[in-house]
């Protein structure tokens, strides 16, 4: 049977991808950011997941304002890196897992999560930067990836509670897949950041660290935090953090923290990162 063994949370700052792609990851500015992922790279190389369900948001790359799905699951064989205005990132094509993705789509919809099914979609930095942070610069990504795109650009995004409950439903869906697969769930985006207007550059380290604590120890309480608190305290783009609750919902109630990292700044953003293992895995 398929099983979810662990979850990874990470920011997906585009400048991190650009630093890696342009050979600047060893610069004084970027070295501490990448160093925060060294232990996680070793961990995931040992763990060897078969499939990653990667929760992220599209940033006006695959979805414009013509169509704004709240939750979309990528069921295609593969997904190309998106051209975000500078040409596509020089990273491998992302191989999907259509059989598990379709199984999830069916289970989730019958479990009353009305997913949008996507058969053609380019994936932007929201999805590829987390892969780069965990796997570096391989010829091909070492596992298959199911993109799960969440709208956090057009207000309102789904509530934290809805995200947490979707995580629980993802767990049920994966647990019922009959093939033996080792699955991880990534929750990406955040942490505190604001990219627009006179308040651009906002960082709130106390909020971020309290969020990291509560995501681990009391995700139910964190899932009840309303949008206004994220937008006010963590910046208008900090609301991406609700996506981490999807990852957390897919794990056991009690988890082991294998790694935790926090760093300011990466361009405009606070970088947060967690590796969480299911106790029974």
């Amino acid at each position: 049977m398929a099983r979810i063994t662990a979850g990874v949370a990470t920011s997906h700052v585009p400048a991190i991808g650009a630093a890696l792609d342009n050979g600047r990851s060893g610069d004084d500015y970027w070295r501490p950011v990448f160093a925060g992922y060294d232990a996680s790279k070793r961990w995931i190389a040992e763990q060897k997941p078969d499939v990653i369900i990667l929760v992220y948001n599209d940033h006006a790359s695959a979805f414009s304002l013509e169509l704004i799905p709240t939750f979309a699951i990528g069921c295609a064989e593969s997904f190309n890196p998106a051209d975000e205005g500078w040409g596509p990132r020089p990273v491998p094509v992302v191989e999907g897992h259509p059989e598990l993705a379709w199984h999830m789509a069916e289970r989730l919809i019958l479990d009353e999560f009305d997913m949008t099914i996507v058969n053609r979609m380019d994936v932007d930095h929201g999805l590829t930067v987390p892969l780069s942070l965990l796997f570096g610069q391989p010829e091909a990504w070492p596992c298959q990836v199911i993109p799960l795109a969440v709208n956090v650009v057009q207000y309102p995004p789904p509530t934290g509670h809805r995200c947490y409950m979707l995580g629980k439903a993802i767990r049920r869906a994966v647990d019922s897949f009959p093939k033996d697969l080792k699955v991880m769930v990534f929750g990406t985006g955040g942490m505190s950041h604001q990219l627009q207007g006179p308040r651009a550059g906002l960082i709130n380290s106390p909020f971020d660290n309290a969020f990291l604590d509560r995501l681990v120890d009391d995700p139910v309480a964190q899932s009840k935090v309303p949008h206004i608190d994220y937008m006010r305290e963590a910046g208008s783009e900090g609301i991406e953090l609700v996506m981490w609750l999807i990852m957390r919902g897919a794990l056991d109630d009690k988890v082991h923290v294998a790694h935790r990292f926090y760093h300011v700044p990466a361009s405009n953003t606070a970088v947060g990162h967690l590796v969480l293992e299911n106790a029974g895995a």
């Binding site: 006006a60 650009v153 627009q196 906002l202």
Partner: protein, 130 residues
């Protein structure tokens, strides 16, 4: 404008339904800049290219002026307007510096020192009270 709790957040425009309706054509113009040939056409004749999109004259002028805060006020969303910035060869951080009214080096230094503090930046009402 319908009263919302987030209108109290200083220096911030939340991209809600009202803003999205206002900015639809402005944002779809930005989206067109995802294609290299459109970027070239825009750069060759900005006003002519903008005329193809049924947006307001104030929105066109804000684009021509690269008035990033005005674009946001008129319904632009940062992930869309950043495509104009990319066309101009500007980074997110350069545009963030302009929007917050400081030079790029000053903005970069602020970020190195931990970013813009939340203290004093939570609430318009809170500010008024002191």
């Amino acid at each position: 404008m319908t009263e919302r709790d987030y209108h109290d957040i200083p220096g911030t425009v939340v991209f809600d339904g009202e803003q999205s309706r206002l900015g639809y054509h402005l944002n779809m113009f930005c989206m067109s800049l995802m294609q290299a040939d459109n970027r070239a056409t825009f750069k060759a004749d900005e006003r002519g290219y903008l005329a193809r999109f049924p947006m307001g004259e104030d929105q066109r002028q804000a684009v021509l002026d690269r008035d990033w805060n005005r674009m946001i006020a008129l319904g632009g969303n940062i992930y869309f307007t950043s495509k104009i910035a990319a066309t101009d060869g500007l980074s997110f951080q350069q545009v963030a510096a302009i929007m917050s009214g400081v030079t790029q080096p000053a903005y970069a230094q602020m970020m190195l020192e931990g970013g813009r503090s939340i203290e004093g930046n939570r609430s318009k009402k809170g500010r008024a009270i002191g």
